[in-house]
């Protein structure tokens, strides 16, 4: 391979490092109306009356929109393929507000100051209800969060809305009851993962305008342009064909932008006023008015025999979807389906779940998507089991690990075709120095160092649902344009897909021009989520390039008046495959390309779509060394080793960076990131001053290595990497904490105070 599996710089790198204006707000026209939202101060209330007359008459104000003015089609903001599994439980503005921050009115005007002034003149009277803030008390709570008659769901997802149950379900394979009875050792504990914020640096932002044909154009920072079109059409009650969505460069998403957040507000302003409109969420709004990771409370029961052979696992997840059901049925599924298969050898396993509504901000997609929460629970339980068995935790893993060729019962019966997890564990064990450091080394009176480990898997795309199409065009100077609908959000997919195309078309990388996403021009793609882009869109690129090569050869055959079957293409020229010196039967691609656009030419372009019946899991083993201050509980990660099997890394640098970034987010989640709500349901940490993400001083060394398997279903053997990398830090650090001082922390985040108080409790 020439270009695949090499660390080329990103194709957009120089624009980004020199600060070129490439993001949504950089492109917005200056004459946009400024759109702002009046938000609910109550966690649960009904709007009884609202007076907007004064505000609407104020200077500069273009419109004030309330629940009385919006279409009445309920929809979900979750970016998912139609028919979406998430319930239709939203309106653009509703008469009932369900969390502190739920939008109440949309105000648009010429300047920010004018709009803010007008907002202060809107009076709203509420009938305030008792909010449901504790997910463990949500079920059958007297307050019913979605009493509306038109609540709708496209599938049976086990919901009972009148009980605040958004969805429920599960499965069992084997007889867990019997296997638990046969177990010599059982661990049965409850683990609690809190809501976290994706906290990408570019907050939500969108601008909209009507084009010359009065079609609504939405330029937005999103991971899901095509789903935005679909949701907007439904929510606004206009045909999809009247909507165009454009995605410029985006300042990351981590799943936050797999949900529609800011798009509809300027859109409805533009439809109402005919004028361009723009909304830019400030950081506070970005925290309080979007989606978070689903808080999950997970009970894990694991049983094994004396030798450490796993007999049964039961995982029960209670997930908190907040006020609305975005991604509710799917994230919870991953807490079981992307954890249990690791221990596919267990004789029986069971997974059950309930997802409840509460009056907190809606949860949504965040890197890891439920698997992260499940991994913390199951991997912590496995570490506790090893301790109970008196066994090295890595030995316990190796004894029960899934293997290539196995049918994965808890993974929809999929066959595992590529897996180097065992090699990942071995490599990581060596890199961290497990033999010498496990469980801990006392370095002074007050300080101890300890190691911990965890393993994980994710998927690569949603099988049979995700879909990616691409188009490759040969242009007249013998370069290619690659049209994709997948969204690069900093992850580098434009580069990775260009690498794949360059490899297939045997050209240099700079001969591939990747265009940004525009739903009018780009081929359909479900979007960048579910770890699908490299794997799925990458495969579509392979297919399209193969087709285009065929077309190039056929076109050359016509020119050369030769049977194309005898011709070959090496990226630069088409020639007689049997007779290399046959100059008569040789044409440079450049000449061919130029000739094709003259007169009776025939422009060459190939499209291909791809969807996958399987979702091959990438794997990772994470190892941590911490230093703990036994007097204050302060715990610092001094070394983190992540060994990843993502199949063939198409671009090893970008894969490494994904891993490093994911690990650091995981460390933040493990040690301090925590969305908390006050007694009235107000989010307490709604700024970077209160919600701390890791700074570069909060980390020690991060080391990444690859142990690549070869995935036959992926392009050049690749699987995904974007999500799997966030899963191991929480359980690995929890494990190291146990090894440092003998306590078990089963609730995140594991702050210094929680650690110290637990140590004291134990003493």
């Amino acid at each position: 391979m020439r270009i695949v599996n090499t660390a080329v710089p990103k194709v957009d790198a120089m624009a980004l490092v020199t600060g070129k204006p490439v993001y949504t707000d950089d492109l917005a026209p200056k004459n946009c109306l400024i759109v702002k939202l009046l938000r609910s101060p109550h966690a649960f209330a009904k709007i009884c009356d609202m007076d907007t007359a004064v505000a609407a008459q104020m200077p500069g104000i273009a419109c004030v929109i309330t629940h009385r003015d919006v279409p009445r089609h309920r929809f979900t903001m979750a970016g998912q393929s139609y028919p979406e599994p998430s319930p239709y439980d939203r309106l653009i503005l509703d008469q009932i507000v369900r969390y502190v921050g739920d939008p109440v009115a949309i105000v648009a005007g010429t300047t920010e100051k004018e709009v803010e002034k007008a907002m202060r003149e809107i009076t709203v009277s509420y009938e305030v209800f008792e909010p449901v803030l504790d997910p463990e008390k949500a079920l059958d709570h007297p307050s019913v969060i979605h009493p509306e008659k038109d609540w709708h769901v496209n599938f049976d997802i086990g919901s009972q809305v009148e009980r605040n149950l958004c969805c429920s379900g599960g499965f069992e394979s084997g007889d867990t009851g019997a296997e638990f009875s046969a177990s010599d050792v059982i661990v049965d504990e409850v683990y609690h993962v809190k809501a976290n914020s994706q906290a990408m640096m570019e907050t939500f932002r969108t601008y909209t305008y009507l084009d010359h044909n009065n079609r609504l154009t939405i330029v937005t920072s999103t991971q899901i342009p095509f789903h935005i079109r679909q949701i907007a059409a439904r929510a606004l009650g206009i045909p999809k064909q009247n909507i165009r969505v454009i995605k410029p460069r985006i300042g990351a998403g981590f799943g936050a932008k797999q949900t529609l957040i800011s798009e509809l507000f300027p859109a409805i302003v533009t439809l109402t006023t005919g004028k361009p409109a723009k909304i830019v969420f400030d950081r506070t709004e970005s925290f309080i008015g979007s989606t978070s990771r689903h808080e999950m409370i997970i009970r894990v029961k694991v049983g094994a025999d004396k030798e450490g052979k796993l007999l049964a696992i039961h995982l029960h997840t209670l997930s908190n979807t907040g006020a609305y059901g975005e991604h509710a049925p799917t994230t919870v599924g991953l807490s079981g389906h992307k954890t249990l298969p690791l221990y596919n050898k267990a004789k029986a396993c069971k997974f059950s779940y309930q997802v409840v509504y509460t009056n907190t901000m809606s949860a949504g997609a965040f890197r890891g998507y439920g698997a992260t929460q499940g991994t913390f629970a199951l991997e912590s339980a496995m570490n506790e089991l090893a301790a109970k068995l008196g066994m090295d935790p890595l030995t316990l893993r190796l004894k029960n690990l899934l293997e290539e060729g196995e049918i994965l019962t808890a993974y929809h019966g999929e066959k595992l075709n590529s897996c180097a997890l065992e090699a990942c564990i071995q490599k990581g064990r060596e890199m961290i120095g497990w033999e010498k450091k496990f469980p801990c080394v006392r370095i002074s009176d007050t300080k101890v160092r300890a190691v911990g480990a965890a393993i994980t898997m994710q998927g690569s795309s949603i099988p049979n649902i995700d879909m990616a199409a691409v188009e490759v065009r040969l242009q007249d100077d013998a370069y290619y344009t690659l049209m994709i609908g997948a969204t690069d959000m900093g992850t580098g997919c434009d580069t990775i897909l260009a690498q794949i195309a360059a490899e297939c078309l045997e050209c240099e990388l700079d001969k591939i021009i990747v265009s940004g996403v525009d739903t009018d021009h780009s081929p359909y793609d479900t979007g960048s989520y579910a770890s699908s882009t490299t794997f799925l869109t990458g495969m579509a690129v392979v297919k399209a390039c193969e087709r285009l090569k065929g077309k190039i050869i056929r076109a050359a055959g016509l020119r050369l008046k030769t049977d194309p079957a005898a011709l070959a293409f090496d990226g630069r020229a088409i020639f007689n495959d049997n007779e290399k010196d046959d100059e008569k039967n040789r044409i440079n691609l450049d000449d061919l390309a130029k000739s094709l656009v003259v007169g009776a030419g025939h422009c060459l372009s190939a499209t291909a779509s791809h969807s996958s019946p399987v979702s091959p899991p990438p794997f990772m083993a994470g190892f941590v060394e911490i230093e703990m201050d036994l007097e204050t509980g302060k715990t610092h990660v001094i070394d983190y080793v992540g060994v990843v099997d993502c199949g063939t890394p198409i671009n090893p640098n970008l894969a490494r960076l994904q891993t490093e970034g994911g690990i650091v987010q995981g460390i933040g989640m493990a040690l301090f990131e925590d969305i908390t709500y006050g007694k009235t349901g107000k989010m307490m940490n709604n700024s970077f001053m209160q919600y701390k993400i890791p700074s570069r001083l909060d980390l020690g060394e991060i080391r990444v290595a690859f142990q690549s398997s070869y995935e036959p279903a992926g392009p050049f053997g690749a699987k995904s990497i974007g999500e799997v990398v966030i899963n191991t830090p929480a359980p690995a650090i929890a494990h190291a904490i146990t090894n440092a001082c003998g306590i078990h922390l089963r609730t995140l985040p594991m702050t210094a105070e929680n650690i110290l108080m637990k140590i004291r409790e134990k003493q």
Partner: protein, 156 residues
């Protein structure tokens, strides 16, 4: 009110509102590299130089720059690109939204500190948050870049 200042070597005189924030002033003039990541003055995305010193443009009034020299990344494009190549070689420019502020502070650090240790580098750049990279790749890029400036290494 009226202010005069120098931005990237060019003189500007403008009428402004007294409470206009510097970042808004600069973006409005077309210096769109400037990004705002927070409302609490602690993400570092909006970093510019004021008389050569790195400052947060989200927490200054345009009124306060009367007679001063402002430098944005547009004004040091060559240097930014030179360091940027090292970032790109590591793949450490992910979404890039933090890059302009980060790079301005790296270049300021290069001017202020001689032969900084890793700890000093981290300390100097602690106010530049990045949610994508996990910082390690940025650190590799900085080390190689500073080495290259001393004639030791290349960006490969």
């Amino acid at each position: 009110m009226q202010i005069s200042c120098d931005i990237n070597g060019k003189a500007y005189t403008r009428h402004i509102e007294p409470d206009l924030v510097l970042i808004d002033f600069l973006r409005d003039l077309g210096f769109l590299s400037l990004k705002q990541g927070c409302d609490t003055t602690n993400c570092g995305l909006c970093t510019v130089w004021v008389d050569g010193t790195p400052r947060l443009s989200c927490a200054m009034l345009a009124a306060g720059i009367q007679g001063r020299q402002i430098t944005t990344i547009e004004g040091v494009e060559k240097e930014a690109a030179a360091f940027g190549q090292f970032l790109a070689a590591q793949g450490a420019d992910q979404c890039g939204f933090c890059s302009p502020g980060f790079i301005m502070n790296v270049l300021a650090m290069e001017r202020e500190l001689t032969d900084p240790s890793d700890d000093q580098i981290k300390h100097y750049l602690a106010g530049n948050l990045c949610r994508c990279t996990g910082y390690a790749g940025q650190m590799r890029a900085i080390t190689l870049y500073l080495g290259a400036r001393k004639g030791e290494l290349s960006c490969e």
